[in-house]
Structure formats: structure tokens, C-alpha cells
């Protein structure tokens, strides 16, 4: 598909309760990239996804991919889901219970395509089945699968007809944590490999960080901010967006070394030591998440302290939040520290002052970004 194609969802849908979902979204979708619709539950994320899929009609507005108009209420244009060529994966697998895994996977593929590829010796689904690890399940029925297996098959089924866009609505929410982590990685790899762009609905920020390239923050039925993951997480547009994203700083980083359960990260050229909680090999890209209350400030670096990280920093701004002061720092990257007013007075901190920011290695939370 055209790598410059962009997805437009500019619609309005009013529900009987009075709640209105009116997204204004326009974003390029490049092959293999993931747009995350992120936000609290009941914010309207699923409604937006269903309008893209053609499963729901808006009251007003337009849905468009590239120069193909899928829905334009004012011009009375409507393309049913059948001809949009989008794959949809729901929270539950929704496999056809009367068909085997193999027939579920090929359900959306035209019989001619199935046969032709069969005789030419190449199996068009082999790549999908290999990455999703579903080849051994072919002859089973959906009722004989575990939750994780069923969701893998659902993904294979959605991708087999080579959709132009894959839509996923909380696809990993019903799975246990280890299965979820593995599946996220596999899905990311498969989308990259097949060059399929995707839209992922989630309220889980770890998932948004791990899988997203672009994020649209949905609150109260509206898109409140749209941008790259690091952009949105480091510069939330307003208080609501910041609250929904969480209180941590999210810093793009790379792991440079691992030894004795301690990882060394490079954050914008600055070295950071982090306690290792799960295996992460050197070289991979991660997000380092640091809560402002875990950052302590010192005037000079003490000789012996338990905190592993002592960063030279400059105070860029101080904002009062009642008895607590939020001190914005530049230590090679942007970081906030929360301290009491008393501490601020004792340290005589003003904008422009030089300080040392101390962060314990155990206070940094890492999220791997799947390549």
C-alpha cells in the first residue's frame, strides 16, 4: 500500500445517553506502523475503531484511507466492511466454532487464491502461521484451544487475506501476563514483516509504549492529542492528557550493557543504571519511566549513597503545587522532581541553579520497544 496514505476519521456519533464521540483524526499510516488509540475505558476508542472497520456508522462526518472514501455521511457515501479490506481482532477471539483452525485462518481468503498458492508449492499463510506459532493447531477446533492460542489464530485469520489495515480492540486484555508479553512481541514482528499498518485500542500504557509508533489520546469522545509516543508522553497537551498518561517521565533509551543484574542505559547520551527485572539484552531500545517523586535533589554528589545515579542537572523551572514543588530539570534529558517547599528553601533552588539529581536504580521502570 501507498506509504504516504493517511487515515482520516472526522466523524460524530451521538449516543442515546447523550455521550458524543467526535474524533478529528488525520494521521499518516506507513507500512508496519502502529497507531495506538489510548485512553480510559468508555472514552470512545472502540466506537472510533468500529467506524474505521465499517461496523458502525457515524451520524455525521467522513472516514477515509488514502484517497478511498469509506464513509461520508454528508455525500451519502458508504462502503461496507466487506470491501474495505481491514482485518479486525476483538478482545475475544471470536473464531467460528464449527470450523477447524485451518479453515478459520483461510475463511476470508478467496478459494481461487487458496488453490493457486497450494499448487505452486508456496503456502501463503506459512509466514503468518510460523510467526504466530499456529501451524500445529491446524486440525483443532476452537473449543480445544487455550485463550492465547485462540487469539493467535484470530490474528492469523485477520491477516491471511492481506488487509490494508489491521484493527485491534484490546486484543491482549483477556490473556495472562506472560502470554500477553509474548504475543505483543510476535504481533509487532508480524506487522513489520508483512508491512501491515495497524490501529490498536488499549487503556494499558505499557502496551501503548511497547507497541505504538504514534498515539492518539482519546478522552470523553475526542482526540485530545496526537503525536509520536515520546512526543506525547514527554509533552502532554493538557492536564487531562497528562493524568491519563500517568505521572512518569517516559524517556527513549537504549541498553548499552548488562552485568550483575544491573543494566546500563544511554538516555540521550547520558548514562543511567537500572536494576534488571526481566531479561533484556544489550542493544535493544526501551522506554525508561521515572516518577517525579523518585527523583531526589542534592547540591553536590555525596561520596557514599545507595542511589546508583547522580546526574548533573540545571533547574529550568519551578512550579508550586501546594506544599509540593515541581522542579523541572535539564540533565541531558528533561526530568521533573517533586520536593517539599522546605527542601526547596533549604537548597535555595532557583531557576538556573546547578544541582545533582539522584535516582535509585530500582526506581527506573523499563518497557521494551519491540522492533
Amino acid at each position: 500500500m501507498d506509504s504516504r496514505a493517511s487515515l482520516t476519521v472526522h466523524t460524530e456519533r451521538r449516543f442515546a445517553s447523550g455521550f458524543t464521540v467526535s474524533p478529528a483524526l488525520e494521521t499518516p499510516v506507513s507500512p508496519g506502523s502502529i497507531l495506538v488509540l489510548f485512553g480510559p475505558s468508555a472514552a470512545g476508542k472502540t466506537t472510533i475503531l468500529r467506524q474505521i472497520a465499517g461496523l458502525d456508522r457515524p451520524d455525521r462526518g467522513r472516514v477515509q484511507l488514502g484517497d478511498e472514501v469509506w464513509c461520508d455521511v454528508e455525500r451519502d457515501l458508504w462502503q461496507p466492511p466487506q470491501i474495505r479490506r481491514v482485518g479486525v481482532v476483538f478482545q475475544e477471539p471470536m473464531l467460528f466454532p464449527h470450523l477447524t483452525v485451518s479453515r478459520n485462518v483461510t475463511y476470508g481468503v478467496r478459494p481461487q487464491v487458496r488453490r493457486r498458492d497450494g499448487t505452486s508449492g508456496s503456502d501463503p499463510f506459512e509466514e503468518i502461521e510460523t510467526i504466530l506459532n499456529t501451524a500445529d493447531l491446524r486440525n483443532r477446533f476452537p473449543r480445544e484451544l487455550s485463550g492465547g492460542e485462540a487469539q493467535r489464530v484470530a490474528l492469523a485469520r485477520a491477516l491471511a487475506p492481506r488487509p490494508r489495515l489491521l484493527l485491534m480492540d484490546e486484543p491482549f486484555a483477556a490473556l495472562d501476563a506472560p502470554t500477553r508479553v509474548r504475543l505483543r512481541r510476535d504481533v509487532r514482528a508480524l506487522l513489520r514483516r508483512t508491512g501491515t499498518p495497524a490501529v490498536l485500542v488499549t487503556h494499558d500504557r505499557t502496551e501503548a509504549l511497547a507497541m505504538g509508533d504514534t498515539v492518539a489520546v482519546v478522552i470523553g469522545g475526542r482526540i485530545r492529542q496526537l503525536g509520536s509516543i515520546s512526543e506525547v508522553f514527554s509533552h502532554p497537551a493538557d492536564v487531562d492528557v497528562a493524568a491519563s498518561l500517568g505521572v512518569e517521565a517516559v524517556l527513549p533509551a537504549r541498553i548499552t550493557a548488562a552485568a550483575d543484574g544491573l543494566l546500563t542505559l544511554s538516555v540521550n547520551g547520558v548514562e543511567l543504571h537500572v536494576a534488571q527485572r526481566e531479561p533484556m539484552p544489550p542493544g535493544i531500545e526501551v522506554y525508561a519511566c521515572i516518577r517525579a517523586e523518585d527523583v531526589t535533589l542534592e547540591l553536590r554528589s555525596p561520596a557514599h549513597a545507595s542511589a546508583r545515579n547522580h546526574l548533573s542537572a540545571r533547574v529550568t523551572a519551578i512550579a508550586s503545587e501546594g506544599p509540593i514543588e515541581r522542579v523541572s530539570l535539564d540533565c541531558g534529558f528533561v526530568l521533573d522532581a517533586l520536593i517539599t517547599r522546605r527542601s526547596r528553601e533549604e537548597l535555595q533552588l532557583v531557576a538556573g541553579a546547578a544541582v545533582t539529581a539522584a535516582i535509585k536504580a530500582t526506581s527506573v521502570h523499563l518497557v521494551a520497544r519491540y522492533a
Binding site: 472497520a53 465499517g54 461496523l55 461496507p80 466492511p81 466487506q82 470491501i83 474495505r84 479490506r85 481491514v86 482485518g87 479486525v88 476483538f90 475475544e92 471470536m94 467460528f96 466454532p97 464449527h98 475463511y107 476470508g108 473449543r143 485469520r157 485477520a158 487475506p161 484493527l167
Partner: protein, 223 residues
């Protein structure tokens, strides 16, 4: 034992069931999947034979297919004889009389198929009609079997409508229930008892085997 009457009843019930299968599935599909506001009217019309006395239904059918109606005249000018008191006339009446017994189980089962399965099928590029054939019908086997069995059994035992529309012509419109009535009228209780017992056993065997079959279908689906 009036074998001719029994054979006629089985023939009538089988033909009625086949016709109901052919027209009941589209009607049930329309009732379940249509978004028309006035579809409740169609549902009510389909359900009417459940509450209407058979004589009332029979009376209207007789009027509708009789020589005074356009339908009856058109038929007799085409075929050469009228519809009342013939097997075809009986068939039309039976189909109407048993319509809810086919359509209601069909539509209940179609409606119980998870809508998200249909949405999954639509987004995989499969049309509504093909989705119905590939997903809804295979998942509705239980309801189809129920509808077929009820239609068959209901037609086998019908009395009032047959009497109104078909009369009592041996081998043509004298069904098994009318034969029993005849036997009792002529005080031949032995014949009435034999035929009644046969009908009772037949009905029981049909219903029992249906429930047994559904049980195994159900177990297979949930295992």
C-alpha cells in the same frame, strides 16, 4: 386401520415441511436481520396461527382459494380444477397453519448466533448472504431440526383446518385425524383406538429421537 389416511397424512406432513424449510428460512432471516420498523407486523402475522382457531384460519383459506377469489379462479383456469377439497389446497392451508412452528425456532436460533461472529465474517470480506450460509446456518442446526420436527408433527395431527379446506375425501383429503373422528362417529372404537395408538407412538418416537439427537449435537458443540 385406515392405511390410506395414514399415508396421506405422512405425505402431507412431509411436503408441508419441505415447503416450510424453503420459505421459512428466508422469512426467519428477514425477521432477524431486517432493520425495518414495521417488521413486528410480519412477526405478528407469522404467529397468528398459534392463537387463531383452526376453523377461522380454514375459513379464510377456503375463501382465498375458492372459485370466488382471483387466486382460486386463476388456479382453476390454469389447472382445470379448483383448489378446495384437493391435496394442493390442503397443502396451502397446512403451510400457513404450521408457519410459526418452523419460523419461530429458525429465527430464535439465528438470533442467538453471536453478532460479533458475523462482524468478523463481514470484515473478512464475506457478504451478508454468504455469511448466513457459512456461519449462521451451520450454527443453527438445532433450531432447524426443531422447526422441521415441529412442523411435521403439527401437520400430522391437524384436524380443523383440514376439515374446513379439504373435507373428507378418502385418499385425497381424509387425513389420519379425520379418519379417527370418522371411526368414533360410526362407533367403531376399536379402529379409532388402533389409529390413535399408532399416531401417539409415531409422535412420541419422532419427538424422542429429536431430543436425543439435539442432546448429542449440544454435547459435541460444548465439549
Amino acid at each position: 386401520m385406515d392405511w390410506a389416511a395414514l399415508w396421506l397424512s405422512v405425505r402431507l406432513a412431509t411436503t408441508t415441511t419441505l415447503v416450510l424449510l424453503a420459505i421459512g428460512i428466508p422469512i426467519a432471516y428477514w425477521i432477524v436481520f431486517s432493520t425495518r420498523r414495521w417488521k413486528f407486523l410480519v412477526e405478528a402475522v407469522v404467529a397468528l396461527p398459534l392463537v387463531l382457531p383452526p376453523t377461522v384460519l380454514g375459513f379464510y383459506v377456503l375463501m382465498a382459494i375458492g372459485p370466488l377469489s382471483p387466486l382460486g379462479r386463476a388456479y382453476s383456469s390454469l389447472v382445470g380444477h379448483g383448489l378446495p377439497f384437493t391435496f394442493e389446497g390442503l397443502l396451502i392451508a397446512s403451510v400457513l397453519y404450521s408457519l410459526p412452528f418452523a419460523v419461530q425456532p429458525f429465527s430464535a436460533e439465528f438470533a442467538s448466533v453471536d453478532r460479533r461472529l458475523l462482524e468478523a465474517s463481514f470484515s473478512l470480506g464475506v457478504s451478508r448472504l454468504t455469511t448466513f450460509r457459512r456461519v449462521v446456518l451451520p450454527l443453527s442446526v438445532r433450531g432447524l431440526v426443531t422447526g422441521v420436527v415441529l412442523s411435521f408433527a403439527h401437520t400430522l395431527g391437524e384436524f380443523g383446518v383440514v376439515l374446513m379446506v379439504g373435507g373428507n375425501l378418502p385418499g385425497v383429503t381424509r387425513t389420519v385425524s379425520i379418519s379417527i373422528y370418522d371411526s368414533v362417529q360410526s362407533l367403531d372404537y376399536a379402529a379409532a383406538s388402533r389409529t390413535s395408538l399408532l399416531l401417539l407412538m409415531l409422535s412420541f418416537i419422532i419427538l424422542a429421537s429429536t431430543y436425543a439427537l439435539q442432546r448429542s449435537v449440544w454435547i459435541r458443540a460444548r465439549r
